[in-house]
């Protein structure tokens, strides 16, 4: 008897998940996202409030493009949200996006932040900058090239060179200054490291705070997130122990990357999806990114948050993002070749 009951229970358990198929009602937008739910939920809630259209969010950490491609014409995906230019271009190349031609979106997002054919749109920018110890770093201005200067030997820390954010920076460097020069620079950077690359961007701030190193590479918005972290107040101390320096390429500009959106190729709720995309490009949504997530809005006229403005004015790189994305593979192979992730070798 006991086994019969347990068998029935097991059968019920096995079958129950199949009952919950994804809803395909008209007033729903299905979002496949590389961006964390809690970052975009405030914006999505505002969208639902304004339009009555519900949103469903599926967060993935890897394989989003592969999943949509495999699902093919039956894919429930309407809108794709992601960070990093290379993922936006990859989505387009994989044929999982379709062009959107919305005057409203185009009016809000400057041309340099969108695909000419409308296959993807940038929403926010983040700078890849230097975190420097207030106490131990005298310089207030640095070029990316300076990171290879022997005067910083044993003083730099960073996360793994294979991370998207670093690959983006290295790819930009290759696009600007050529592979040979970049490799030389990367070798110098490697030998300036205080330790093997590890942790995330916040961990570099923590390492500066604790004295393990003086200079770290990180994204701008983490500083805002740390400075306002009420749950873990010690992160405020990490952020306050350092200053943000906008390093520059030879052209005097700083590397920025974008987060963005795209319309899925087989979007079942295309109209609602475009309305969501228009909303995400709107001033209201852009303000939320600026205030709550501390990113730079792409829409001209929407101010960055006060915390971010306190770093100074960023001169964002003008090189087309797609040119940078093309160097990504070369950058990744260079990281392996140089052995950046092995830490200093001399």
């Amino acid at each position: 008897m006991k086994t019969l009951i347990s068998r029935l229970a097991c059968t019920a358990v096995l079958l129950s998940p199949f009952a919950a198929a994804p809803a395909l009602a008209e007033d729903v937008v299905n979002i496949y996202s590389y961006r964390q739910p809690d970052l975009i939920e405030p914006v999505l809630d505002a969208f639902t409030e304004q339009t009555g259209i519900q949103t469903q969010l599926l967060f993935l950490d890897k394989g989003l493009e592969e999943r949509i491609a495999a699902e093919g014409q039956n894919s429930p995906a309407d809108v794709i949200l992601t960070v990093d230019i290379s993922r936006l271009t990859k989505a387009k190349e994989a044929g999982i996006t379709q062009p959107v031609n919305s005057e409203e979106i185009n009016a809000h997002i400057p041309a340099e932040f969108r695909d000419p054919e409308g296959n993807w749109f940038g929403l926010t920018q983040r700078g890849r900058v230097v975190y420097a110890s207030k106490e131990r770093v005298a310089e207030d201005e640095l070029a990316y090239a300076d990171l290879a200067d022997p005067k910083f030997k044993g003083r730099i820390c960073m996360r793994t060179g294979q991370h998207d954010y670093n690959i983006g920076l290295f790819a930009a460097m290759i696009a600007h200054e050529g592979a040979e020069k970049t490799e030389e620079w990367m070798t110098g950077l490697r030998d300036n490291l205080a330790r093997k690359p590890e942790g995330n961007d916040r961990a570099q701030a923590k390492a500066i705070y604790s004295g393990e190193c003086d200079i770290g590479l990180g994204n701008t918005y983490y500083v805002g997130l740390m400075k306002t972290n009420e749950k873990e107040p010690e992160q405020k101390e990490w952020a306050n122990a350092m200053k943000v320096i906008f390093p520059t390429f030879e052209n005097g500009h700083t590397h920025v990357n974008v987060s963005g959106m795209a319309l899925a190729r087989h979007a079942p709720n295309k109209e609602a999806a475009i309305r969501l995309m228009e909303f995400l490009a709107s001033e209201k949504a852009q303000q939320v990114y600026a205030e709550q997530v501390f990113e730079y809005p792409v829409k001209p006229g929407v101010e960055a948050s006060d915390v971010v403005q306190s770093f100074g004015t960023i001169k964002a790189d003008t090189l087309p993002l797609t040119d940078i994305a093309k160097q990504r593979k070369a950058a990744s192979e260079m990281v392996d070749r140089v052995g950046l992730d092995d830490g200093p070798q001399s």
Binding site: C10, V13, L14, S16, P17, F18, A20, A21, P22, L24, N30, Q36, P37, D38, L39, Q56, L58, F59, L60, D61, K62, G63, E66, R67, A70, E71, G72, Q73, N74, S75, P76, K90, T160, Q162, D164, I167, R195, K196, P197, E198, G199, R202, A203, K206, A207, Y209, S210, G211, E212, Y222, L225, K231, E232, R328, K329, S332, E333, D336, R337, D341
Partner: protein
């Protein structure tokens, strides 16, 4: 002590069997092959992805990636197997053979670390041994050091550190398999040796280790596969293993083919592990001649004084490392966020985790039983080989296995949909991919090795001739399985179910890739919070993972203890 071969005559050739049995054998072989095919499906898809690759990445991989990451992986495997084997065997032996303070409590506490996912353990160790963590802070206070330049402290973010972390949470696999052998057979043999005048140390070395060797190797094999498939811990600790290279090849160099090819290299390592395990079992004939002996146990050797203290500490340390440190670190963060416990999102994640893990446990154990039963009925190497090969999914990185499954399921769904559109004029959409069923399927494939290995060890420890005796007394094979084997195998089956449940609760990467909308497990909940670099916000869910995984572990542990004391 009879070698099993002597009891079991060689199977008759198929054409000499009576027609009914021949038919049944064929049916069993076909069913086994079908199950094996379903389980191997994603692996085969991956192989085909790898084969279609141009190979243009290989010059780069060979020159800059593979030699390093293969060496790192092998070194990590060597250290983790040494670590888990020494911790697992020592503690199992102390618990079984000696009596010292808190022994009974520690006997089940030793299992606790199995509930801690390696990625959380890595994070906790990182925090605990960090410059700002309790250990270094205490050292600085003690010696008056100021900055990290004043003293040297080993870096947890290294291959050695990763080996420490993984050993601390994975040793229970060895502890559990070894302890069962010591309990079932070790003591009776050991007592004979002891009455003949051998010292305990010699008995351990000369008698018990050889007896337990297959069990130790079975446990270590599980540990090695877990180590191979781990991405969370090694990524956090900055160790570039083959799994890490699979991801960077796929994600940063945009080459899924190259990633699949590296995964194929990993499968070669897995085959080597499986073969080694098989080889280590080749002479295993140490099962007790009578089942009743399992219950007959003389008293433990009572330890006193410093010996008791040493035994106590030796057993306590692994528990503190594998369980204490993660609980301390995550608990501190969780205490500041207890309000999260009442969030519906967390509660839903908890329910999903329990449902998926239960379903996976039942399904996986059933599949394992079917495979092993086939091997029992059709005593042919081919069938056993099929059963073994089916377990290979365990060693693959979850996302990669998940991708293979995703491709297969989506192809299936779209084919069915296309047929339905052509013939019936309606769309069936995605039937399996993007459902919780896909998640359960993936977890079943991933953890079949756990269930198969655990139950097989149990089966091999039973005297083979009791099945034969039941059959010769007129039992059908099915009846013999039901009334003779299954009751004796209950502990092994329960253990297998619990292990699969625990691993499914911990599973992250395949779940996050394959899940449907609005479906979160505790593990994905933690990840959603942790991926912005704020693991702290996931601490409550992380502790809930540990507690959820722990409940059945404790129940099982108690059940096994009852078994032991009765």
């Amino acid at each position: 002590m009879q070698p099993s071969q002597a009891v079991n005559p060689a199977p008759l050739p198929l054409d000499r069997l009576p027609p009914v049995r021949r038919l049944r054998h064929r049916a069993i072989v076909a069913a086994t092959a079908l199950i094996a095919a379903l389980v191997l499906l994603p692996v085969l898809v991956l192989v085909s992805v790898g084969v279609t690759g141009s190979g243009e990445d290989w010059p780069h991989l060979m020159e800059n990636v593979l030699p390093r990451s293969t060496l790192t992986t092998l070194w990590l495997l060597v250290m983790v197997s040494a670590g888990t084997a020494s911790i697992g065997v020592t503690t199992a032996w102390l618990i079984v053979a000696y009596d010292f303070p808190f022994r009974r409590l520690l006997a089940w506490a030793l299992v606790l670390p199995v509930a801690v996912p390696p990625y959380l353990a890595a994070y906790a160790f990182g925090e605990f041994f960090h410059f700002t963590g309790p250990v270094q802070t205490a050292l600085r206070a003690l010696f008056g050091w100021q900055s990290p330049r004043d003293y040297w402290f080993p870096d947890i973010r290294s291959t050695e550190g990763a080996a420490l972390v993984l050993s601390a949470v994975l040793y229970p696999y060895v502890y559990m398999t070894t302890r069962v052998v010591f309990l079932m057979q070790g003591r009776s043999i050991a007592d004979v040796a002891r009455t003949l005048g051998a010292r305990p140390g010699k008995v351990f070395r000369r008698i018990l280790l050889p007896v337990a060797r297959p069990a130790i190797i079975a446990g270590v094999a599980l540990v090695l596969m877990e180590t191979l498939n781990d991405i969370g811990a090694v990524e956090y600790l900055g160790v570039r293993t083959l799994t890490f290279s699979v991801y960077s090849t796929w994600l940063n160099r945009g080459s899924l083919e190259g990633a699949a090819q590296i995964a194929a290299v990993m499968m070669v390592i897995v085959f080597a592990i499986l073969m080694t395990e098989q080889w280590a079992r080749r002479k295993q004939g140490f099962h007790a001649a009578r089942a009743t002996q399992i219950k007959a146990r003389p008293p433990r050797l009572q330890l006193t004084g410093w010996r008791a203290a040493a035994a106590f500490i030796a057993v306590l340390l692994p528990v503190l490392a594998g369980f204490g440190i993660p609980i301390q670190v995550l608990g501190t963060f969780a205490l500041r966020r207890l309000d999260q416990l009442f969030e519906p999102a967390l509660q839903n994640a908890f329910v999903s985790s329990v449902l998926v893990a239960s379903a996976t446990a039942v399904l996986t154990v059933s599949v394992a039983l079917m495979l092993l039963n086939a091997a029992r009925l059709v005593r042919r190497p081919g069938v056993l080989a099929m059963a073994r090969v089916s377990t290979i999914g365990y060693a693959l990185p979850g996302t990669i296995l998940g991708l293979g499954l995703l491709f297969a399921l989506a192809r299936f769904d779209n084919t069915v949909d296309g047929l339905a559109r052509d013939w019936l004029g309606l769309s069936t959409g995605l039937l399996v991919s993007g459902t919780a069923g896909a998640v359960i399927y993936a977890c079943t494939i991933r953890f079949l090795a756990l269930a198969e290995g655990t139950i097989r060890s149990g089966l091999e420890k039973l005297p083979r001739n009791i099945d034969d005796a039941a059959r010769s007394l007129g039992c059908t094979p099915a009846r013999s399985a039901r009334i003779v084997l299954l009751p004796l195998l209950t502990p092994a089956i329960m253990t297998a179910g619990v292990l699969v449940f625990v691993d499914t609760v911990k599973e992250l990467s395949a779940t996050i890739l394959l899940r449907p909308f609005g479906f979160s497990t505790l593990a994905t909940h933690v990840y959603e919070n942790a991926s912005r670099g704020v693991v702290e916000d996931g601490a409550v869910a992380a502790l809930l993972i540990i507690v959820t995984a722990l409940a059945p572990v404790i129940l099982l542990s108690r059940a096994l203890m009852r078994d032991e004391t009765s």
